[in-house]
């Protein structure tokens, strides 16, 4: 273990922001040819550490070494020149420019009088893309690429320099499973070339697939490093949150009520076809499938955001027309959308106003909105969901991901819906809040809501659902009860493997 010289090593890094000690004496190293995963809950200091590594933040104390030579990195460009490259979670590409221009952004090869040397540019970029097995050329406009391919462009950017360490920040957040496989191949390839890889992710299974060692941060402090092959999820989780997350199978036996929502032969162009299912009150139905299987689109249709091309929707046995969210809300359907920041919250608005947003028209006294009525609702749901905020005046953008998600859920519970649809309930949320949200979903079902949960995380689906519907490519492949579903038959179903086709 002592023999190789670390590609990148941090020693006693302290970084403070006004009022916050974000990193408190963190040490970390990555060896050449190693994938070193960095784990921690939201707010544990992962982003700060990563930005310090990439030259975006300057540490207040501590030292950074590249191949045991102490360095200072004042800007991302300087970090890159020294061989440390960050692959952003939010891709930072210029959509209107070609892949080649993006790869060499800021360092375009030049000819005399500052003219761009296009020939060299495309040749060099093409070479890198070929190395990455990319199926698009250097002249392709980045805006026309899929998210996975955009990520390839980001990675290609890292390869323009002789990278000693590459940092991946939640690289799989928006990738399909197939694209994930390609990404992992590339990471392994980088590894084989002796590049040190820092891999940041929330997804435990990925970390166990790809990493050699795992380091954990909690509350800005270093909590220890584990060798991946000698540890398990439980141990890592305990290190992260001080206790372990219960993701056992749902074995609760609940008496269900009548059918709250029934969908008959619903189709919407090429997005999904012939979808029929029902949800009883008191029941959680989980939708599981790959990204693009049509799950979110069904939710959007039920919430009036899409118009189906055929089929019917019945609420408590009566056929309804849902042509806008206004209709859906009036009929008692609520949707907690896939991405809370883009579709769920008004980030600059305070907590109270976000919760009362859909019903503020009903909270008036004379011409004005009644402060008292709003506050009463806010307090009720703050207490019920245990939302942690210093005051109702706090803008929701200042809350943690878990608390933001609770605000969105609280907003819809306050509307007293009959059917609650939750799309990716715990995406980007730390482990501790995940458990709270899972409990909340179970509790809502017990109190009589009909709940639909859409999730890409199999343990989550198995943990919360009474029934699981597996989708593949716009169709329902199979429906499982909680008793008959398991990881194997679920994986088969969502991969499009049908009994008859196998034979």
């Amino acid at each position: 273990m002592m023999a190789p010289v670390p590609a990148l090593r941090l020693e006693g890094i302290v970084k403070t922001f006004p009022g916050v000690r974000a990193l408190d004496g963190v040490s970390f190293e990555v060896l050449p040819g190693e994938v070193h995963a960095l784990l921690g809950e939201n707010g544990a200091g992962k982003s700060t550490l990563m930005k310090t590594l990439a030259g975006m933040h300057q540490p207040n104390e501590g030292r950074i070494y590249i191949e045991e030579k102490q360095v200072e990195m004042r800007t991302p460009l300087e970090a890159k020149a020294k061989g440390v490259v960050l692959i952003h979670q939010e891709l930072s590409l210029v959509e209107e420019m070609s892949a080649a221009e993006n790869i060499y952004l800021g360092e375009l090869p030049r000819k005399s009088f500052g003219r761009v040397d296009w020939k060299t540019l495309f040749a060099k970029a093409g070479e890198i893309l070929t190395r990455l097995n990319c199926k698009f050329g250097p002249q392709t406009r980045v805006g026309d690429l899929s998210i996975a391919n955009k990520q390839m462009v980001e990675i290609a950017r890292a390869l323009t320099v002789n990278a000693k360490a590459v940092i991946f920040d939640e690289p799989t957040a928006s990738l399909t499973d197939a694209e994930k496989v390609v990404l992992f191949e590339i990471i392994r390839d980088l590894k084989a070339r002796g590049v040190g890889i820092v891999y940041i992710s929330h997804r435990m299974e990925e970390i166990f697939t790809i990493s050699d060692r795992i380091s954990v941060l909690r509350d800005g402090t270093y909590r220890g490093t584990l060798i991946t092959s000698d540890t398990n999820e439980d141990e890592v989780t305990q290190l992260m949150i001080g206790r372990s997350l219960d993701l056992s199978r749902n074995e609760e036996h609940v008496e269900f009520g009548g059918v709250a929502l029934e969908v008959r032969a619903l189709s919407c162009g090429s997005l999904y076809r012939d979808i029929s299912f029902h949800v009883r009150s008191g029941e959680v139905v989980g939708f599981y499938g790959l990204v693009g299987a049509g799950r979110t689109e069904i939710a959007e249709t039920l919430f009036g955001l899409r118009t189906p091309s055929s089929g019917t929707v019945l609420l408590e046995g009566k056929e309804v027309r849902l042509s806008s969210p206004v209709d859906a809300i009036a009929n008692g359907i609520s949707l907690v959308p896939e991405s809370r920041k883009e579709q769920g919250l008004v980030l600059g608005m305070n907590c109270r106003d976000n919760i009362t947003l859909p019903q503020v028209d009903d909270l008036t006294a004379g011409p004005f909105v009644s402060d008292g009525a709003e506050l009463a609702i806010f307090e009720q749901y703050r207490d019920r969901l245990e939302i942690k905020t210093p005051s109702w005046r706090q803008a929701v953008k200042n809350l943690s991901g878990g608390n933001q998600q609770k605000i969105v859920i609280g907003k819809w519970l306050a509307m007293r819906p009959n059917v609650l649809i939750v799309d990716e309930p715990t995406r980007g949320i730390d482990v501790g809040s995940k458990a709270e949200i899972h409990n909340l979903i179970r509790e809502l079902a017990r109190s009589g809501y009909a709940v639909i949960v859409i999730s890409s995380e199999m343990p989550e689906v198995l943990h919360v659902s009474d029934r699981v519907i597996a989708m593949y490519s716009g169709e329902i492949i199979r429906e499982f009860t909680a008793a008959e579903v398991n990881e194997d038959n679920l994986v088969q179903a969502i991969s499009g493997i049908r009994a008859e086709k196998v034979a």
Partner: protein
Amino acid sequence: MADTSKNAFVTWLTRNPIWGFIVLIFAFFSFSNEYFFDLQNFQNILVQTSTIGLIALGMTLVMINGNIDLSVGAVVALAASLAVDLQSWGVFAAWGNWAILPAVAAALASGIVLGALNGFIVWKTGVDAFIVTLGAMIGVRGLVFIYTREESFFAMNFAYSDFGASSVGPLPTLAVLFLLFTVATHLLLSRTVHGRNTYAVGGNRDAAVNAGIRVGPHMMINFMIVGFFAALAGVTLSSQMGAATPNLGRDYELWVITATVLGGTKLTGGAGNIIGTFGGVLAIGILRNGMNLMQVPAFYVLVILGMILIAVLFLDKQLNRRGKQELKT
């Protein structure tokens, strides 16, 4: 986090730096010019700023909503021309002073209708408000020239221009009008459902749609409100001058946007308030008045105002970025 321990006033001032700026320039002009600190002069400032100020009230709503209206200057000219021209029409000859009423009503209606049209196009076509109202700005100005045949109209009835010079108690009527509408718009924005939804739509349009808010009608109403205020400004302006010229209101959209932005309203929508806008309007009024009294040549005043706009927004960014830094942890 550190903000909660600071006292509320400092927090408020950090969010509305324009009022700190106003205190500064107010003190500066009071000490450096003997004519500035004078009740009569304060009334002047209010009357002078009321035109831009009224439109800025509406512009604040439209901008918080995530849109912009560049056509306000042209609407000022159209409304002014209508108000002055219509009252002298033959059909109203027997109406005496009452002829002013239908003329003003038609002028205001023109603003509301054009606002509705702007809003409707933005709503239904999804074309950016900047483009739609840029088109309206050019087109309506053209209409004014066609309608007036490039001539100025003069109010033959002196009752009309008397109104512009009249007072309510100790205060000039136009100043009172501006203050009343400021309070009314503040209440509309901060206390009503429409106001709340205006912030929501500008802050995150998708989230607003998902919350069952009818985005289109809210946008249209705000365009109608700014249209109304632009037309009202046209009426008060022509009443002050006793006339209307087809070039009236040129560059007003720029001054209005300047005042609104100085007051802390974000071009991206979702943030801003009427108290800030009122401050922005006052700041421009005090600067122009003060520099005028100090006999700074007019073109230098423009140079200084331009620099101040950038400086204040830079300050705002510095003050409010610290909070953001904390979040990056």
